[in-house]
């Protein structure tokens, strides 16, 4: 990076931190610190939701995903708009009326304290692990850029985020999310424009799309139903719906965003805007990856995109063999580039016969280059069996650093940092909220003063940040980062979603049945992960269905034991005990607003 890049990057980061501190000032109680006094307008809620979801991983890994695997990943988001509608109808009014601090607080109203605590702890484990990956991604960026040790960079970045989130609270988190989302979108538009500008003179945007499409990188839709296909329309719509329902309806890092809405309308509008904007945004980011792929059909990409691994093998006894392979790879790339130009020229002339011939030649040249690249990767492995052979996360960064003009490199890195800060800060504030409200204030110290809880919240925020930095040190071998985050979530989301579905819709099922069903569901999901080849997107469905089924059977059994009809109000002592709460969703209008201040 050159001086102007450093100025752009430093200036952007400084402005974010200062803006966050300015907006977050004056939080004197828990409601201000953890819920931004519930005064946010819909656009701030919407952009905060989007910014929290869009981590740095989104911008380092997603374009790489399109480069390697095409655009089919966009289908993963098809369930999201439907989830936004469902949550707007169900969850938003309930959470608002109760005035809860966390989604799990509602579960105590509906079931009992053990179900609330179990769900909250699942969230703390799952999100606690994910937040480490969220910090790891930008650390990776700096390591590549500066040649620094990843442990140093993750500690440095994590430290900056901890200071900024701990001092500012959720008010700062939400407002900086808005600012960061604007920076992110500006960066992405710039990157997209540059993928077109940097194409060879005789290759236009549509030509590049034909090149990428001809190589299978514009496969945005696949209607074939295949349980073993990771991303298709059906897994995206069904699995994606479950993931989105679970993430936005039960994950505190998202629920907290729309709990800050000034009203039901503001929160709903925020969610619905996200539902409308997320799919096109993700398509756009994947399209950037496909365009980078097209660009590299005419330019020489490195044989391997991770420069650290390449340098390691160059310095080793395998260096000579690797150099020879690189030379052959470059020759193959030149042949591929020439074939790609011929293919583009044939398309321009609309010469169908020649198009088929040149496309075939292009595919053969491309295949040869890929074979040589595979040889190069084998040498990397032979040199170091522990070498990270997945370079997906480095593809987009390589393009940015090597081909973007001075100034724009800084902007793109600022964009990645902004994304990291927005998601990490949201996650830390959610983790702090759960730790304090669901665990500390509920189980450890119920009678503390407001200032005490505020202090504990700040400490919790800092502690989770330190933990995340520590975890980030070990995240380097998790493959494509965005997948790692989503796989991790899928291990728990199905169970959490089922608990909330029971809470919202199956009012005759009590806390005990739900609690043990959750355990059963989690065991089944973990068995699927360790012992089957079922794609991870289906874990959400499996976990959710198992919990629902077990809870229904268990509730029937419990009702039978107590000698009552299942659907009778006398079926189970527990139901009688919690009757007023079980019926709660049907009686929203009668819930007193004083619930907000009830002792938890």
């Amino acid at each position: 990076m050159k001086t102007p890049d450093w100025i752009v990057l430093g200036g952007t980061l400084l402005s974010i931190v200062l803006y966050g501190l300015y907006k977050g000032r004056g939080s004197s109680n828990l409601k201000g610190y953890l819920l931004a006094d519930r005064k946010m307008r819909w656009f701030a809620v919407a952009l905060s939701i989007m910014a929290t979801q869009a981590s740095a991983v989104t911008f380092t890994s997603t374009p790489g995903q399109a480069y390697v695997d095409g655009m089919r990943f966009v289908q993963f988001y098809f369930g999201l708009p439907l989830a936004m509608v469902i949550l707007s109808i169900t969850a938003v009014p309930i959470y608002h009326k109760l005035g809860v601090y966390t989604a799990y607080e509602y579960l105590e109203h509906r079931f009992d304290v053990k179900t609330r605590t179990l769900t909250s702890i699942i969230f703390l484990i799952q999100r606690g692990l994910a937040v480490g990956i969220t910090i790891y991604a930008p650390s990776l960026v700096l390591s590549v850029m500066l040649g620094w040790d990843i442990r140093l960079t993750s500690t440095l970045i994590g430290g900056i985020i901890i200071v900024y989130t701990t001092s500012g609270g959720v008010k700062a988190v939400n407002w900086t999310d808005v600012q960061q989302m604007i920076i992110i979108m500006a960066g992405m538009v710039v990157a997209f424009v540059m993928t077109i500008v940097l194409l060879p003179k005789n290759v236009g945007f549509i030509d590049a799309l034909h090149v990428a499409g001809g190589m299978g990188r514009l496969n945005a839709i696949d209607f074939s139903f295949d349980l073993h296909s990771r991303y298709n329309f059906w897994s995206g719509l069904v699995g994606g719906l479950f993931v989105a329902l679970a993430y936005f309806g039960t994950d505190q890092s998202q629920v907290q965003r729309y709990l800050t809405g000034a009203s039901v309308t503001q929160s709903r509008l925020g969610l619905l805007f996200n539902g409308m904007a997320k799919v096109p945004m993700q398509f756009f980011i994947l399209l950037i990856g496909a365009m980078v792929f097209a660009f590299f059909q005419f330019e020489r990409p490195p044989i391997f995109f991770n420069p650290v691994e390449v340098e390691k093998v160059r310095q080793s006894e395998h260096g000579g063999q690797f150099l020879e392979t690189e030379q052959r790879y470059n020759q193959a790339l030149d042949r591929k580039s020439a074939a790609a130009i011929e293919y583009v020229e044939a398309r321009k002339l609309s010469d169908e016969g020649n198009i088929a011939i040149t496309q075939s030649k292009f595919l053969v040249a491309s295949h040869q280059a890929e074979e040589i690249r595979a040889e190069g990767i084998k040498i990397l492995q032979a040199n170091d069996p522990q070498a990270d052979t997945n370079d997906t996360n480095y593809i987009f960064l390589t393009f940015v650093m090597k081909y973007l003009p001075v100034g724009l490199v800084g902007l793109l890195f600022a964009c990645i940092f902004a994304a990291s800060m927005s998601s990490t800060s949201g996650e830390l504030s959610a983790l702090a909220a759960c730790s304090v409200v669901d665990v500390y204030r509920r189980h450890i110290n119920k009678e503390g003063e407001e200032k005490h809880y505020l202090l504990v919240s700040r400490l919790a925020m800092a502690c989770w940040g330190v933990y995340a930095v520590f975890f980030a040190q070990y995240a380097s071998r998790l493959g494509s980062l965005i997948e790692a985050v989503n796989i991790l979530g899928s291990l728990f989301y199905g169970t959490m979603l089922a608990i909330f579905l029971i809470a919202f819709y199956l009012k005759w099922i009590g806390g005990t049945a739900t609690f043990w069903a959750a355990f059963a569901g989690e065991i089944v999901v973990l068995c699927c992960y360790f012992f089957t080849s079922i794609p991870w997107l289906w874990y959400n469905v499996v976990g959710c269905v198992v919990v629902l089924a077990v809870a229904i059977v268990l509730q029937m059994f419990l009702a039978g034991r107590h000698g009552g009809a299942v659907f009778s109000s006398k079926a189970e002592p527990e139901r009688v005990k919690t009757k007023s709460l079980i019926d709660f969703p049907m009686r929203l209008s009668s819930v007193p607003h004083t619930l907000e201040s009830r002792s938890l």
Partner: protein
Amino acid sequence: MEASESPPPVLGSWQRLYMFVIAELAILILLFYLFTKAFE
């Protein structure tokens, strides 16, 4: 706090707004399909 049934600022009712979001998704899927077919 306002009632949950307060109408949205656009389209008159929440039901219409929800339908609008779902319709946009359907249109996007159709466009993505045409995009995939056009360049495959």
